[in-house]
């Protein structure tokens, strides 16, 4: 498949919509582990992104520039811990898509792997710490191996999202080791990590997006 900068913008808009829908659910999850504001934080950030998409970014056709702007806008709007994490993810994605108005299967694979690695580098969390990384690392690993084998991005991304879902679900059973919730110790068992959940939602939104637009350039 091929993704144009317009397609990338449409995807970001779908994330905005998805976050508004899931906002309360993400806050509910966060109330068990943190201060109950994860949905609000994500909403503040993505609303700022939408505003940017509708103004300064209208004319931008470089997927790299677009991703940098999305990352920085999100960061400036939220701060918090998700700010630097997602900003680093999108900026790493931007590096792989610099000067490109259209992303092909190979580019998209690189983009998402760089995204996941960026988040991990910034947060210094490992799988099993009960964070976004529990979703993103298995996702990136599966995407890489599956794409290498099949050279089919859509298939590889779909398998990778399944791995992401398993990773997200695994956070229910583990003790939190990073962030504010790490102070909960055993009391964190049973609660699904909100960061791992919203990360999964973003990936599954992209999967849905490419499925709806498959077999054509978007």
């Amino acid at each position: 498949m091929e993704l144009t900068s317009k397609g990338l913008k449409d995807f970001f808009r779908e994330v905005v919509e998805m976050i508004e829908k899931e906002k309360d659910y993400l806050c509910d999850l966060d109330r068990k582990l943190g201060d109950g504001d994860h949905g609000v934080t994500m909403s503040i950030g993505w609303q700022a992104v939408e505003e940017k998409l509708n103004n300064e970014l209208i004319e931008i056709e470089d997927c790299g520039k677009l991703s940098v702007a999305v990352g920085k806008t999100f960061l400036n709007a939220v701060g918090s811990s998700v700010g630097p994490l997602y900003a680093t993810g999108f900026m790493r994605g931007a590096k792989t898509s610099k000067n490109k108005a259209v992303l092909n299967d190979c580019d998209l694979t690189e983009y998402w792997i760089a995204f996941a690695k960026g988040v991990k580098d910034r947060g210094q969390a490992e799988v099993g710490d009960k964070t976004m990384v529990d979703t993103l690392e298995p996702f990136a690993r599966k995407l890489e191996t599956s794409f290498t084998n099949s050279q089919d991005f859509e298939l590889a991304f779909s398998e990778a999202v399944n791995a992401a879902e398993e990773g997200m679900n695994s956070t229910k059973d583990i003790i939190s080791k990073k962030g504010r919730s790490s102070r909960l110790g055993e009391r964190s068992i049973g609660a699904q990590d909100p960061g791992a959940t919203s990360a999964y939602f973003i990936l599954s939104t992209f999967l849905q997006f490419i499925k709806n637009n498959s077999a054509k350039t978007v």
Partner: protein
């Protein structure tokens, strides 16, 4: 939950606007960033800049502590969320007087990342030297062997006090950082929560607690503490908090301390003084001298109920720092 707000989305912007308009002789907003506030008064050339910051919802922290003897600037985040690097960097540029800037903040993952990114940008893009000191005073948040993992709560006020004084005394960047870290090493805090706060955007309580319950070791954002149990008397609570603090730091007969009994937002001063009364009794019985005491709402958590007790063990240098006068809208010490 009833709140006096307009659109909940705008609470931070509207609060900051109200604050700077209420105290124009103390603080001003930088034109480059609404969340970047600096002292309205001239600071000396060559003085190390003191930058504080964190999420909103802790008022009067953090912007209430910009003023003489404390901080030169503050970066304001969303509710309970670290500010992003942008306002931190803008404040850094504005308060650097050629001697560098020291960032003081609590040990939270978000703050560590955002302040860290801002420090890198200050160094690379602006050539401003930045030092950092983190508050890790909450004994309930991690075992003693992992003090660097503990979160910062009300004891942060004493770190501002120490670092702000050191900067005023003309200490260089390295020494201001040393004093701030020393203060942190000498500070221990622990809190109790009796009722949650409610985030303006969700209207939901930050944690669940029964009418007749309390949570020992509760964090400043409603993070669960050590244990939930039936609500006890002020004396029993003070006993527990002071006991856990003294088990963590050696404070013996003849030592001098500064004491802070900090309200979390909705606990009346009456209750805070009743808690202080018991803290004073315990320390007197042990022959520990209270050199200075602070009782009030210094670092809150919206309308959360409860309080924390902080002790700072003083030495000669920290005594000089704690004695240094302060003039801020929310905190005056002559």
């Amino acid at each position: 939950m009833k709140k006096l707000v307009n659109n909940p989305v705008n609470v931070v912007e509207e609060m900051v606007e109200g604050y700077v308009r209420a105290h124009p002789d103390y603080i001003r907003q930088l034109p480059s960033n609404d969340r970047a506030l600096v002292t309205a008064r001239e600071t000396k050339e060559g003085k190390v800049g003191i930058l504080i910051g964190g999420g909103s919802g802790h008022e009067p922290a953090f912007m209430g502590y910009v003023g003489e003897g404390l901080a030169d600037g503050v970066a304001v985040g969303n509710i309970f969320a670290s500010p992003s690097p942008d306002p931190i960097l803008e404040v850094t540029k504005a308060i650097d007087k050629g001697a560098g800037v020291v960032y003081l903040y609590g040990n939270y993952a978000g703050d560590v990342m955002n302040f860290g990114m801002a420090a890198e940008m200050a160094d690379l893009e602006e050539d401003i030297e930045v030092g950092m000191a983190l508050a890790t005073d909450d004994v309930a948040s991690a075992p003693k062997a992992e003090k660097d993992k503990r979160r910062g709560i009300a004891g942060e006020l004493f770190i501002y006090k120490a670092a702000g004084a050191a900067a005023d005394f003309g200490y260089n960047l390295e020494d201001v950082v040393r004093v701030a870290n020393k203060a942190n090493d000498h500070i221990r805090s622990m809190g109790v929560g009796t009722s949650p706060c409610y985030l303006p955007q969700t209207g939901e309580p930050s944690f669940e607690i029964g009418e007749d319950e309390m949570e020992i070791g509760l964090g400043h954002h409603g993070e669960p503490g050590l244990e939930k149990g039936p609500l006890e008397t002020a004396d029993r609570i003070a006993d527990r908090l002071v006991h856990d603090i003294l088990a963590d730091i050696e404070i013996v007969k003849g030592d001098e301390v500064a004491v802070l009994v900090n309200g979390l937002g909705s606990t009346p001063k009456m209750d805070l003084y009743i808690v202080y009364r018991r803290v004073e009794q315990i320390l007197s019985e042990r022959g520990v001298k209270i050199y200075r005491s602070y009782v009030g709402d210094y670092i809150t958590s919206l309308e959360m109920g409860g309080c924390s007790v902080t002790l700072m063990k003083l030495d000669e240098e920290l005594t000089d720092m704690i004695d240094h006068p302060v003039d801020c809208p929310m905190f005056v010490q002559k």
